[in-house]
Amino acid sequence: MSVTLSETGLAVERHWRELASRRRLYTLGGLLFMTVAMSGSLWFANESNAGKFWDRLPYLFDFIGQLLPRDGFEIWRAMFDLPSPYDDGSLKYNYPEGRMYLTETFYVPEYLYKMLETINIALVSTLIGFAIGFVLCFLAASNVVTQRWLRFFVRRFMEVLRAFPEIVIAGFFLAVLSLGAVPAIIAVSIHTIGALGKMFFEVVENADMRPDEGLRAAGANRLERVWFGIVPQVMPNFLSYGLLRLEINVRASTIIGAVGGGGIGEVLRLSISQTHEAKTLAIVLLLLLTIIAVDQFSAWLRHRLVGEQAFAFGRGD
């Protein structure tokens, strides 16, 4: 089937072909660039690693094999600090020694206690970060604060808090306050202030200003306008972001725990490095269940608070 095109038609077709070939060129160039960058990166990563990938691969499977406990119940014994039939006095099987006795007979299993500690670190930091971020966000919103310099200053301040590596704050306070949960709380809180503050002020800037106008007309001062005009509108979104942050903070406080900030992260690192298979699996299982539970709970509560609005993407780390 041959179609003869008019002069303009030919020009359009020629133009289309040019565009298509240029696009193909760009795509090819991009792919080539990615291939080169990837192979270079992989080579570099492999070279600078302590063990080479292909040499270490068999050990990976060995290590997975080492993680298998002697029987399935060992995981539960490790999790609930029950005595093990394989107990030979070594650290590997000394499950009952971690018991935290609350009364003569009632105890909290060690890992459950550590997990609670981690959750509490996350919760306290989220609350602190929420409170301070709440105050700061209004100072950064252009519809509340008219002074440009103040907004600029507060925003830069929050950016620094957010971008500063948590690990450094934790390391600094670990040096000052010695090992424990408090440095972890401080580090996670500081990061949370920055992260929540940024999301909060964006919510505030998108708030409906008509209630504010009404309050202004009735002679309300700035604090009253914010408190009665803006806060009721933004509170559901704030709470939703706070819950999302709680999910992230549970993970963050686990990581900080692994570098000395207490909680489950610390025992996990110890138990993996000493190849205590049942203990490791118990902790991993506990952590997995906790994270899923916190995520589900937070998703359910967020759903109740703000309905269908999705916040999963753009977590603003």
């Binding site: 570099f44 302590a50 063990g51 690990i167 390391g171 408090v182 964006e202």
Partner: protein, 511 residues
């Protein structure tokens, strides 16, 4: 405008009780939540023993650590011998073990060494008596030490002694208003308008003349005296030496360390040496030597830091790319509207949940054990976690696509794979790329943190520098580099996403 009287207000309230009752309940709920949070915080205070932890913290050290971020200390020690002084610097002192510094001046004279004569004491007391007169005077500068120094060498000694040129007096200026003058036996410290004179009986005692000012501290009579000058430094006067700590702003020896032949030279001289100077090392050019000296700067370890930073960047890059590549086909299997089999959907989705919920930390620890510390562990950790995250995000995107395009392609009789290629991929690819780019930036941050638990990269180096508690300036340097990298990647990622999505993506906000 109608004005309501109080009775009319009450009437309205009586007519619509539900309006007011509702608000009361809401208000009570607010108070209850507030009270709950307050009680919880009290519990947390007790649970973490926050008060005790803060009370036991080393807050003095905290100030010194913070100051270390942007300052450095020179730590000369001035040993007090019988009739002369020994000025020495520690091995890794930022001002080096050689060279002259303008804030430490000293005078030399010929003295008898190994002479068991009370010459030093005599010189000390003579200097002391002259210094004693201005103890009470305000604003008086101590007398120049030259006179007492001249008195120091004692000519009367036995034949076994050697006459040798030695330092007999030293003056250390700490900041513009503080001065420490040392001659054997007497240390005179001036801070602003106040002066402290301490007599030293060698290897026995340190005694201040008159009461100690509040910037000086002595734990027990005769023991060492610590004098503080605030930011510029401090000194410890002991019975055999004076330890001085003089603090300066900046990072010491950032470019060349003290072992480098270029150390201590002004920039112009270094450039002219590199451009046209004699070869310092006959084997290579000055440029190569300078570059090598910079890279292998023993204190700042530029080459190592840059390599580790590159490792972190590579970890985030490779991990994100691999995760995107694997999540792409899996997401098609997980999307309800694309793969009809419910079992396949569920298996893929549960796999994503598993990968995501097993924290990045667990993957990092796990792969560190398997591959040994290094970027491979970090890559694997990011790869595993983000395959889950991307899979979830991608499959949600796929489930929300517009079905009309697919129908159109299908209606012209295209094969199933072509339906996906032309009906689905063009719709979702920009969104996928945008999501991956967003996570690329945030993974650069995560890679730093998991590095600290052993997954390699700058995180590990950062952590090691922090553990020594004395390399805070290196920590500051690495943090600065990380912040720059994150900032640059954030901007690249935002710019690319804006181009991909057209218009204003979620991450691009006005400033």
């Amino acid at each position: 405008m109608a004005v309501l009287s109080l009775s009319e207000v009450d009437e309205i309230a009586a007519r619509h009780p539900q309006v007011f009752a509702g608000s009361l309940r809401k208000r009570l709920a607010g108070w209850a939540i507030g009270l709950g949070v307050a009680i919880y915080l009290v519990f947390a205070w007790w649970f973490f023993a926050i008060g005790a932890v803060f009370a036991n913290g080393n807050w003095d050290i905290a100030g010194a650590y913070l100051a270390d971020w942007v300052t450095y200390e020179a730590r000369p020690t001035i040993g007090i011998e019988e009739n002369h002084l020994e000025i020495s610097f520690p091995r890794f002192d930022p001002v080096g073990e050689r060279g002259s510094i303008d804030w430490l001046t000293s005078e030399t004279a010929m003295v008898e060494r190994a002479a068991a004569a009370p010459a030093g004491n005599a010189a000390g007391s003579s200097a002391g008596s002259s210094a004693g007169s201005f103890l009470g005077t305000v604003g008086g500068k101590p007398a120049p030490t030259g006179s007492s120094a001249a008195a120091a060498p004692s000519p009367t000694t036995g034949g076994a002694a050697i006459r040798q040129e030695e330092t007999v007096s030293a003056a250390v200026e700490i900041g513009s208003r503080n001065l420490i003058e040392i001659v054997p036996g007497v240390v005179t410290v001036t801070r602003g308008s106040e002066t402290l004179v301490a007599d030293i009986v060698q290897n026995q005692s340190v005694t201040a003349r008159g009461p100690l000012p509040d910037w000086a501290e002595q734990k027990a009579p005769g023991s060492k005296i610590i004098v503080r000058f605030g930011f510029p430094g401090r000194a410890e006067i002991e019975d055999d030496e004076v330890k001085i700590r003089h603090r300066f702003w900046g990072w010491a020896n950032f470019v060349f360390d003290t072992n480098s032949p270029f150390w201590g030279k002004p920039a112009g001289e270094v450039f002219s040496l590199i451009a046209s100077g004699e070869r310092i090392d006959p084997k290579r050019s000055n440029l190569a030597l300078a570059w090598d000296n910079i890279l292998n700067n023993s204190e700042w370890q530029h080459l190592d830091v840059w390599t580790k930073l590159l490792q972190t960047i590579v970890m985030a890059f490779v991990g994100t790319v691999f995760a995107s590549l694997l999540a792409f086909p899996l997401a098609f299997a997980a999307a309800r509207n694309i793969t009809q089999s419910r079992i396949t959907n569920q298996v893929a989705k549960r796999l994503f949940d598993f990968l995501r919920s097993v924290d990045m930390l667990i993957w990092a620890l796990f792969f560190t054990r398997a591959f040994g510390p290094g970027p491979l562990a970090g890559i694997s950790a990011i790869f595993f976690t983000d395959t889950g995250t991307f899979g979830k995000l991608y499959s949600e995107t796929l489930e929300n696509i517009d079905d009309k395009q697919r129908e159109g392609i299908r209606s012209v009789g295209a094969a199933p794979s072509l339906v996906q290629r032309y009906g689905v991929v063009p719709q979702v690819l920009p969104v996928f790329l945008s999501q991956s780019l967003y996570f690329w930036e945030s993974n650069t941050r995560s890679a730093t943190i998991i590095g600290a638990v052993g997954a390699g990269g700058i995180g590990l180096k950062l952590w090691e520098a922090m553990r020594t508690n004395s390399d805070w300036e290196n920590v500051a340097y690495m943090v600065l580099l990380i912040l720059i990298v994150v900032f640059v990647f954030d901007n690249i990622s935002n710019a690319l996403r804006r181009r991909l999505m057209g218009g204003d993506p979620a991450g691009a906000q006005p400033v």
